[in-house]
């Protein structure tokens, strides 16, 4: 299924956010996820479904002013 990850289209075999995270090998607690410009809290990764062309944003801590 083709979904958009951080602005780039990727072919990922996943039906939930949790599976997307696992497929992309994100680990630990230092990232946050949004689906179609709405934040998905960590506790809801497993129950949040993804569909083709969904836009998933995965962000990490970075330097900032």
């Amino acid at each position: 299924m083709k979904i958009i990850i951080n602005g780039e289209e990727k072919d990922i075999h996943a039906t939930t956010i949790a599976e997307v995270i696992k497929a992309l090998e994100y680990e630990g607690d230092y990232f946050a996820v949004a689906k179609n410009l709405v934040c998905v809290p960590r506790a809801k990764y497993a129950e949040t479904l993804v569909a083709a062309q969904d836009e998933i944003e995965i962000l990490m801590p970075m330097q900032g002013g």
Partner: protein, 260 residues
């Protein structure tokens, strides 16, 4: 000690974490400045890149103030704030909404709307705003307790461009916590705003781009302390003409001129 967002702090300096030469340079600057609060952002990064920055900050045990830097719309800012809360486990958010590409001047309309949404959702909102008094009043009316007015555009290092408006802002909003954010280039700029009664200073570039960032961080810390002490001590009123500081009575060789 002073109170900010329900917590107590000693330092009135909030330090940005961007543009340092190296992670070690950043670590030294934070440590030497005594800053207890640092700003952070959220960015796209691949899983394999790891996150040494995150590990470094956690080791330092500082309080995080995540920002919504470069957000262009209410929705982007609100979603970024939610993601920051999920990741950093804090309800603090430095709310930034870019309104102009050239000056990075905040969009006050998007700022107000995003602040309203986030406050209703339990955030402690630190809005990055201009020196505009009415915008400040509206932000307070939405429930903000803290405002972060600019001294000058981000990264410009000019110091206060509009001191009179900032003076008015401080005088008209005595109940608000006002932290000068952006445009501070030298420790003297920081001392000046603290002397005017601002509650704190947030800066980044002036420290990060110094030849010796840790030393500059300490210089800013001292200037902010000096400015705050001066404000608490009460500055003397200025005068247009001289007034002798040494008493006139008993001046040697003093003679009263004889009237003709």
């Amino acid at each position: 000690m002073w109170q900010l967002g329900g917590k107590s702090f000693n330092s009135r300096l909030i330090l940005g974490t961007s543009r340092y030469r190296s992670p070690e340079n950043l670590r030294e600057a934070i440590t030497r400045s005594g800053a207890e609060i640092v700003t952070v952002s959220l960015r796209r990064q691949s899983a394999g890149d790891g996150n040494k920055f995150w590990e470094l900050l956690r080791e330092l045990g500082v309080t995080f103030l995540p920002n919504t830097a470069n957000c262009r719309s209410v929705q982007e800012a609100v979603t970024t704030a939610h993601m920051a809360r999920d990741m950093f486990k804090t309800n603090w958010i430095k709310l930034e909404t870019v309104g102009d590409e050239y000056t990075l001047q905040p969009d006050p309309f998007a700022l107000l709307e995003a602040a309203r949404i986030l406050i209703a959702d339990g955030f402690e909102v630190f809005p990055y705003t201009t020196e505009d008094l009415v915008v400040g009043e509206r932000l307070l009316a939405t429930g903000c307790k803290i405002l972060m007015p600019w001294a000058a555009p981000i990264g410009s290092g000019q110091g206060m461009v509009n001191p009179q408006a900032l003076k008015t802002l401080r005088a008209r909003l005595p109940q608000a916590t006002l932290i000068i954010d952006a445009g501070i280039g030298a420790p003297s700029h920081a001392a000046q705003v603290m002397e005017m009664g601002f509650d704190g200073v947030m800066l980044n570039t002036a420290v990060a781009l110094a030849d010796d960032a840790p030393k500059m961080a300490e210089a800013f810390a001292q200037a902010i302390n000096a400015g705050r002490m001066a404000y608490e001590a009460g500055l003397m009123p200025t005068r247009s003409f001289a007034e002798p500081s040494t008493p006139l009575p008993g001046t040697p060789f003093w003679k009263t001129e004889k009237k003709a």
